[in-house]
Symmetry: C2
Subunit: 436 residues, 2 copies
């Protein structure tokens, strides 16, 4: 390999972009940089993840909505991926007595697509100027020179010289560790008190056991269960509960007792025996919210996706925010002529407030999904919101709609939401007073 880029300004030689992390955001980024003509090297610490099996109990489904689709569209990947998704247009609330009530997400045609696993690395490989390097563990890299050292599976070390390092290596990013050693890098990681545990609801007579195309929710205030459809007609049920409550359930009989009390309608659908067994397959998994700033280090490195902003999974925006990172970076590359020394600080300036906003919203929804969804006042407000949106479609747009079905910047969606909240409350209260 000839990566000598001593004369990085020379146009005769392709600049090298090293994408660290071959997951969803890394692979999409590889496509973006490849499309621009860079020499792209993707480094993934695991073995070829396309051959990896889905691990039972750790498969949180991926929700693809507008932002993610726009980002895929730009590199021609939207259609292929959309064809593999299950459209989901409503929540379905399961009450304690077993009744089910749907709450639509948005207007007709506004759907979120559920994906199980994306094999985006495949797409990156269709570019001849892209190379996927699996089983390459990052040992060290220099913020000054862009020199990187990897440990290969065969025990040998490999050195490369990158003009730009793109850290897409997830919530526990190795790239980000170098940022932590710099002065004035703001960072937080917050674990929520809840853990999650996955259970499978098998098909009945070859068909889905419940209505597909819905996000099924059993909101129970301090905890909740959700269920999402898979292509094989199963549902993945995810129980979210404080860790101490998980610790209180230690035997199969206690599992059944617990489900009888809170999710009686789910027992026959999952199956009592499977429930007793699968509940103990894996311990409850932790969920972390990561925020940091800045996203760049000199003109050599930038963080994207979970490495920059791991969010809790309650807004279905984790993957979408990560994909939109690539799109936003790409837009800034256009505006500033691929000049990394200008693009990187601008990316931090533009993107940090938006990613922080979606991290906060996901945390907010963590409370809303398990409690408010239950309350009449919440349902009434949703109803008013949707009604106002119908009569004033450009003035009042529900927050969920802005986040999920538009590219309104996340932080602007939040600002607008606070403003709309005041307007809505004013309308509701004056209507009540006037007896309307």
């Amino acid at each position: 390999m000839d990566y000598s880029t001593n004369d990085s300004k020379s146009t005769s030689k392709k600049k090298v972009v090293a994408v660290v992390g071959g997951g969803l955001v890394g692979a999409l980024n590889a496509c973006y940089f490849a499309k621009r003509g860079f020499q792209v090297e993707v480094f993934e610490s695991r073995e070829d993840i396309r051959q990896a099996k889905i691990v039972k109990g750790r498969s949180i489904n991926l929700a693809l909505s507008h932002r993610g689709r726009q980002a895929l569209k730009q590199v021609g990947m939207e259609d292929t991926i959309v064809s593999k998704g299950i459209p989901m247009h409503s929540r379905m609330i399961h009450s304690l007595n077993g009744t089910q009530s749907p709450i639509p997400y948005g207007k007709k045609g506004q759907v979120t697509l559920l994906l199980q696993r994306l094999h985006t690395p495949h797409s990156a490989e269709t570019y001849s100027n892209t190379k996927l390097n699996f089983a390459h563990k990052l040992l060290n890299w220099s913020t000054e020179t862009g020199a990187m050292t990897f440990l290969r599976a065969d025990g040998a070390k490999e050195e490369i010289q990158a003009d730009l390092i793109v850290g897409c290596d997830g919530a526990f990013s190795a790239i980000r560790k170098q940022f932590l050693r710099q002065s004035r890098f703001n960072f937080s990681q917050t674990y929520i008190p809840h853990g999650y545990l996955e259970l499978t609801m098998p098909p009945i007579n070859g068909e889905f056991a419940m209505k597909p195309n819905y996000l099924h929710i059993w909101p129970r205030n301090t905890f909740m269960m959700i269920a999402l459809p898979n292509l094989d007609k199963t549902f993945t049920c995810t129980l979210f509960m404080p860790f101490d409550e998980f610790e209180n359930v230690t035997t199969g009989d206690q599992v059944i007792e617990f489900f009888q009390k809170y999710f009686p309608d789910a027992i026959p659908l999952i199956g009592a025996d499977a429930l007793k067994r699968d509940y103990f397959c894996l311990p409850a998994q932790a969920m972390v919210s990561v925020k940091c700033s800045p996203y760049h280090l000199s003109d050599k490195c930038v963080l994207m996706g979970d490495a920059a902003h791991a969010v809790v999974p309650f807004y279905g925006q984790g993957m979408n925010a990560g994909f939109e990172d690539c799109l936003v970076f790409n837009e800034i590359m256009d505006q500033l002529n691929e000049d990394f020394s200008a693009v990187l600080p601008e990316y931090t300036r533009v993107r940090v407030p938006d990613d922080h906003a979606i991290a906060d919203l996901a945390m907010y929804n963590y409370v809303e999904m398990r409690s408010h969804v239950n309350s009449k006042w919440f349902l009434f407000r949703k109803y008013v919101d949707n009604f106002l949106h119908i009569i004033m479609p450009r003035t009042i747009i529900p927050l969920y709609t802005m986040v999920t079905f538009t590219r309104t910047r996340y932080h602007e969606a939040v600002k607008r939401w606070h403003w709309q909240d005041k307007v809505r409350n004013y309308i509701v209260h004056s209507s009540l007073y006037k007896g309307l």
Copy 2:
């Protein structure tokens, strides 16, 4: 050295406590554990810090108030240290036109002591069961066994086995790195946009250039300067300002221009030539606020002082909070009979909310000191607070008094402050309406 503690339950052998960090909190902790009869080993990565010189421009003075004094008292160190301090009983506000107005901190006799440097390691050495190990850099330690490896100045490695590891190694704690690798460890580091820069105001005819026994403040909204007296009759002036504004001042003439605009009365006192020169001695220093939770890892390790909670310096509580950590831990050791497996989780439970509260308060004061102190409304409120405290001394206690002159738990002081705020506002408003 014989550190074999395979049978750590044996009462015939002293348990080994390894204190990592030989700074203020580490040294005080060493005294506490030594007093209890443990075999104490203090490890400090630097050379003997008692021989280190004060670095010009990096000497932020230490404010010792009630909590710190109580913690020192418990190990018989209060009197010696108090004798070396300069008492400070008021703020002195310097307005733009040069007038100076004092604002007392509390009641008569309530003073904060200013210290320049504490040689606490000396005190730890008075215990025969304590050993100070300087120039010992921590390489590795095990959360399971308490085995620790250090790199000595001579290049040799040294291994020890500790029953308890106490991480007092400051805001950038090496011990804390191990915590970050554990699941469900919450952590944040936040740099404020301001940096600080220190200047020296020399004595005039062998006497202080301004009134000593005051915290001199030049509040200028987005930035401020403070000055604190030293034993050698100098003042240390500290300029707090956003980093971008520091960057705007690049020449000696610009420094003078800047001071003429904002701190004209300070120019003759510091001296124009010294000002031009010293302003550029060191770049502006960053300030970080660190929060984390839990403070313990299994029954082997606990974090205290800045390693657990670095705070910005605007409440003068950094050292006091760190010293109070030792005192609180000591109290819990009494309650739970030195059983580390019970003491450590209890310490986390009790201390985290208090340390988080003082970190937030210090951040709040960072805004208050440079802006509110200027406003009439703020001064009026302070006046009302002090008045109410005089007529209802047990009901209304100013926040500053609770924090600085009592051991009211920090988080309870904050709670009470919010409650008092409501009461005070109610009294103020009803007085105004009644024309009182």
